[in-house]
Amino acid sequence: MNHRNKDTVTGKTMKTIVLLMFSLLILLPVLIVVLASFKQMTELFVNPLGWPKTFSLDNYVVMFKEQSIGRYFGNSLIVTLSTIFCILLFASMLAYAIYRFSGWRSLVIYGLFAAGMMVPPQVNMIPIYKLVADLKLTNSLGGLIAVSIAIFMPVAVFILSGFMKSMPKEMIEAAAIDGCGEWQSYFRIVLPLSMSSISASAIFLSVMVWNDLLFPLLLINSESKKTLPLALLQFQGEFMTNFPVIFAGVIIASAPIVIAYIFLQRYFVEGVTAGSIKG
């Protein structure tokens, strides 16, 4: 017998009803928006909730033909992939050094990054804006990538060095006796063994960076360099209340993460949760 939930039949029914209602609350707004993206504004007005008369792709055509959302998509892809690649490389190297150093060196490096997690990125928006302008990197994807690396790296260092701490040091020492240098033991031993926490960090970071609005908003204003969240904001200004067109944009912008989520649910739940708790 299950003691935790002493469910009666009515209790079970109640539970199902409550869960279905909350599911509806989560799903319904999303579904309405997906359906609306296939409607025209006039149709949406008379029929906001129902099935569209025809599944017209007109709004998506507007996004690609008139709005070059393809370019924004490409910018987001470049920024997200380069940021994640650099963070995972640099943070795993830092974590390796923290793991291998002993005494104060290890503590100082670790402390420096742990302290960075205490400072919310919004606190730094003014001086970062100024620094990037001074370096003449405003409106460059490179500048945005560099800032994103610095902002999101502390969490990755924290997660990866937490993971590496659990690895037996004797392993590396034995390898060193066999003539294995630091680079070799990093690439051949520690990196392969850390894959689980590296991929969790990758998932967490991809959600954070792909969805980030603040730093693109501060650092980018030229049309050709916009990332998706920034472009969405611009559509809002341009199309005002022409919701169906904006929704087509929302769906294109969300598609990669949503598709990845459908296939990797469990890893997303673990990765995003681990990252956000520590972050």
Partner: protein, 289 residues
């Protein structure tokens, strides 16, 4: 064992970029907060003027802080209760429960901008779904200009925040609940406890560590809800949804008072630190173990 010199090379790239794009701006922000700077001309050292202005002569800063608190308290209370409730329903790893958890978690992964657009439409007074739904079921009286009514707007946004992040907190609570040994429940039920007593005496005290994490994280998250508010209302109407982070943005990029915005950022950081520490103390004090 002695480490080799090549370890310093491991630190180099990450540390360099971190020092330049994070540590240096943090320090520079502090210096900037004692200056007057419009973004173009020379910056001028003005001592504590920005801080005096922030603490004594800026009613919008106070307003933004109050909005932050209203938003935070409503989100923390509702999201924590709601997520604990669902976590209790979904504690066991049955197939159905896992599907529900994955579903409820879904809004967490989409961007705040997307969430803002979804709910901007739901709340829209003319074509919005909520008002037409209320109209259809004869509850016209309840319909509202959800985001346009200054008394209402911040709570409407708080609801969206709860919608978006409850699933994430459910996952945290489930982890906490699963670590409670089944035998404890067997024992209290054998003693004739009812469900409420079991919750009161077993679940609640043992889920307290998870609750501390949830509350602390929800607090920080709601203080940082820049994207959502920026895209939904931009801080309006009449500053009724202006929170500290959007106000800092407006001070810098609308009023071109970068020095003052930097001082506000320092105030923002101190407030976050105080709230977080205070909360930890409070929750620790309440803990039964």
């Amino acid at each position: 064992m002695k480490h080799s010199k090549s370890l310093y090379l491991f630190i180099l790239p990450g540390l360099a970029i971190y020092l330049l794009f994070f540590v240096y701006p943090t320090i520079n922000g502090l210096i900037l907060s004692f200056s007057s700077w419009d973004g173009f001309s020379e910056r001028k050292w003005i001592g504590l003027d920005n801080y005096t202005r922030m603490l004594t002569g800026d009613s919008i800063f106070v307003r933004a802080f109050q909005n932050n608190m209203k938003f935070m308290i409503s989100v923390v209370v509702f999201q924590t209760i709601l997520s604990l409730f669902f976590a209790i329903l979904l504690t066991k790893n049955t197939k159905k429960n896992v599907i529900y958890r994955v579903l409820f978690f879904f809004p967490t992964i989409i961007s705040s901008i997307a969430v803002a657009f979804i709910w901007g439409f739901m709340y829209n007074p003319n074509v919005g779904v909520i008002n037409s739904f209320l109209g259809n079921i004869g509850l016209d009286a309840l319909s509202n200009n959800w985001l346009g009514n200054p008394a209402m707007a911040i709570y409407s946004i708080a609801f969206v925040q709860v919608w978006a992040h409850t699933g994430q907190m459910i996952v945290l609570f489930v982890a906490g609940l699963q670590s409670i040994p089944e035998e404890l429940y067997e024992a209290v039920y054998l003693d004739g406890a009812n469900r409420w007593q079991a919750f009161r005496n077993v679940t609640w005290p043992l889920v307290a560590p998870a609750a501390t994490i949830v509350v602390a994280y929800t607090t920080i998250q709601s203080f940082k809800a820049f994207d959502l508010i920026f895209a939904l209302t931009g801080g309006g109407p009449a500053y009724s949804t202006e929170i500290l982070s959007t106000y800092i943005y407006h001070t810098a990029f609308q009023s071109s008072e970068f020095g003052y915005a930097a001082a506000q950022s320092m105030g923002f950081m101190v407030i976050i630190a105080i709230v977080t520490i205070g909360q930890f103390k409070l929750l620790r004090g309440n803990r039964a173990y």
